[in-house]
Symmetry: C2
Subunit: 255 residues, 2 copies
């Protein structure tokens, strides 16, 4: 049954979406069946693959709108991205209304976990691209996840931000049925910057095996990928960024 | 009297804080008196200058807590950063409580504008570093601002994000007393990336004089600056990043 990987960090622009798409594509290349769920109202992952939420009748928003869960909903909200073979449930701006909508709904944090049971046999990995906010969407993602991947930039402020992340995790652990499994992923690492190297050393020392061995280096090819609506492997499968995410996929498959 | 520059974009990690600190430092070097206000609960600008909110008795949060405005508050919340000469009002995580706190307070969007009148003669420029959220803090910043600077990364998704920004601006214009003056600043421009160049061309074509002529290029030295708690000018005043922000300061002083 599917391993659910939540990709979250309340800080913006740290590589959550890039990780969801690149890791998803890497797992696919290694023969795994992959579903990407775009839980971000800004729907960046969806837009990247040319699924424009305003043009779609059905998106991730439908899942949170159902009053009675119907397994047939998955037929409507899963889209196949032909050129990569990735399956995606697109996001939508209306996801931002959920904070208010689900306020009085009991067990509102369990909606996604329960729904995912229907597709658990169809995929090896389900990747959840999360918005940079703490809220009902993030709680759903964490409750549903088997592993939380936290992309963290290798800069000084990110170290300080880690404290905030761990405070949130501690708070959430009280609400969750079991302790949250998480692992930090160093992203946008610039080996030319001494500051980056120092931060990476500190992360390795403080986090030990809570830090992926794979470090995602800065690679300008990700912008080409974004502009062309492609995943990194379809821009240059041998570039630094592509090889890094492939290595990350292997690290996840064989832990 | 002081020109108030709000630096905002609901997307994370686009260079708001880097712009607040670097532009502030640049204006200082050009002989202007500068105050930076850190309106972000994550207080990145403050932490960068080694003002740790948890160790401070008084921060920007005090301003929004006063039931009756007392001009003497500025003596408590303005700190001088000795090595740069920058004045800063540090942020604090409690700023995030304001969304709830000020819910029932009339004219809650005017708090900052009214308070700033007390220091308007002491500074030439007041820079407001905003959080990546739409909320009461952002409204206060926009109501108080003479110019909204919107840092935008030169990538494909940022173009799509522009639409969201303009929707917000249109919505806010109805609430504000006058139309919002804004100008886009292209940031993290990577000249080696064809994708970046294409996005910059589109921005120039679509925005015309709503786009600063100055483009902030990608510069690894900003990470050194962040790690050392320095502004870019104290790392290398001749590097690409430093010269770009100096050029931006000149563009703002002589519009
Ligand atoms: N390793 C990398 N090297 C260079 N650029 C990168 C890398 N990873 C991501 N980027 C770029 O950085 C920007 C932000 O990345 P991304 O959208 O993945 O972050 P995010 O955490 O999902 O942001 P948000 O919080 O807005 O959802 C994008 O332009 C992306 O192409
Ligand atoms: N021109 C640049 N070249 C290289 N790195 C940059 C540049 N501008 C900013 N950065 C780096 O990018 C990261 C994000 O920048 P910054 O914190 O200024 O963004 P922000 O919009 O304030 O983020 P947030 O939304 O979290 O407040 C920081 O590590 C910063 O040092
Ligand atoms: Mg994202
Ligand atoms: Mg910031």
């Amino acid at each position: 049954s599917a391993q659910v990987l939540a990709i979250a960090n309340q800080k913006g622009g740290v590589g959550k979406t890039t990780t969801a798409l690149s890791l998803g594509a890497a797992l696919l290349r290694l023969g795994k069946r992959v579903l990407i769920m775009d839980l971000d109202p800004h729907a960046n992952a969806s837009i990247h693959l040319a699924f424009y939420p305003e043009n779609l009748a059905h998106t991730a928003y439908d899942l949170f709108q159902e009053l009675e869960h119907d397994p047939a909903i998955w037929q409507r909200i899963i889209y196949r991205h032909e050129s990569t073979g990735l399956d995606i449930v697109p996001g939508h701006i209306r996801l931002s209304e959920l904070e208010v909508d689900t306020k009085d709904r009991p067990s509102k944090g369990l909606i996604l976990k329960k729904a995912l049971a229907d597709v658990s046999e169809r995929y090896d990995y389900v990747l959840l691209d999360c918005p940079p906010h703490v809220g009902v969407l993030l709680v759903n993602a964490l409750v549903a996840s088997d592993l939380l991947i936290i992309p963290v930039q290798t800069d000084f402020l990110a170290l300080h931000g880690l404290r905030l992340i761990f405070d949130s995790i501690r708070m959430l652990n009280r609400a969750l049925s079991g302790p949250l499994r998480y692992k930090i992923l160093a992203t946008m690492y610039d080996q030319r910057a001494g500051a980056c190297r120092r931060v990476l050393d500190i992360l390795r020392e403080k986090l030990a095996d809570r830090l992926f061995a794979t470090v995602i280096g800065q690679d300008t090819k990700f912008r080409e990928a974004s502009a062309g609506g492609k995943v990194i492997f379809d821009v240059d499968p041998n570039c630094r960024g592509a090889r890094a995410y492939l290595q990350l996929a292997e690290e996840i498959i064989i832990p």
